[in-house]
């Protein structure tokens, strides 16, 4: 399962927008909301890449003969 280019662009877009939201919230002095927003963005991206990570671990196991 190869990561396609659209997923990479989606993740980049989410990163940019979550970064902007973080900056806006910090600017008005809401660091707590900003941190929560970053965490939510991280969870969304993690949910999107979890299959790729699983695939990566399987490859590593296969390469080093862990099973």
């Amino acid at each position: 399962m190869e990561p396609d280019i659209q997923t990479l662009f989606t993740i980049a877009g989410i990163g940019i927008i979550v970064g902007m939201i973080h900056s806006v919230l910090r600017m008005i002095g809401r660091e707590d909301w900003a941190n929560w927003m970053t965490l939510i963005g991280f969870v969304i991206v993690l949910y999107m890449v979890v299959n790729f990570i699983q695939n990566l671990f399987q490859h590593i196991q296969r390469v080093f003969h862990f099973f």
Binding site: T10, G13, I14, I17, M20, I21, V24, L25, M27, I28
Partner: protein, 172 residues
């Protein structure tokens, strides 16, 4: 593809509109507090110098103020002419239902109701002092509302657009 495109733009428009609406509420609150202070100044002038009766004063204020406050003062005028309830009860009802409840805080409503309780009960000098006290409290609320409008109004607009873009990217 085209359906997702349309849905994405609808989401962007929806979130942007929500952001603008929240920002507009902050701006309207500031406008309302300015108008209320102006109305209290007129009320003070009418009571102390013109010495008119309360129903007449509220009718005149209804003609002077913007739509939101105009209907408030006009309803007060009508209720006072009917004479079934006192001013405090009338204002309690009018302030605790839309549209005024959306733009006023509990403190401002209480200030106005307290003022309504005292109007027509004491001599002119006491009434003038009470109106000035209410205006001072509204001025404090106005400063706070202005600060919130500058800070959170801009934030609401920006956040609306950014959340819209985020949702658009997620459903793309």
């Amino acid at each position: 593809m085209s359906l997702r495109f349309i849905f994405g733009f609808l989401m962007l428009a929806l979130f942007s509109w929500i952001g603008w609406d929240v920002a507009r509420r902050y701006a309207w609150r500031v406008q309302l507090l300015i108008a209320l202070q102006r109305a209290l100044t007129s009320l003070e002038t009418e009571i102390v110098y013109a010495q008119n009766g309360l129903p007449d004063i509220f009718k005149r204020l209804a003609h002077m103020e913007p739509a939101l406050l105009s209907s408030f003062f006009l309803s007060t005028h009508r209720e006072l002419l009917e004479g079934r309830r006192n001013l405090a009860d009338v204002w309690y009802d009018l302030l605790n239902r839309p549209p005024l409840i959306l733009y006023t805080d509990v403190r401002e409503r209480q200030t106005l109701i307290d003022l309504a309780r005292s109007l027509g009960q004491y001599d002119r000098l006491s009434e003038q002092k009470r109106i000035q006290l209410a205006r001072y409290e509204l001025e404090e609320a106005y400063q706070e509302a202005k600060q919130n409008d500058e800070r959170y109004g801009k934030m609401a607009r920006t956040m609306g657009v950014l959340f819209g873009l985020l949702v658009m990217i997620l459903i793309w």
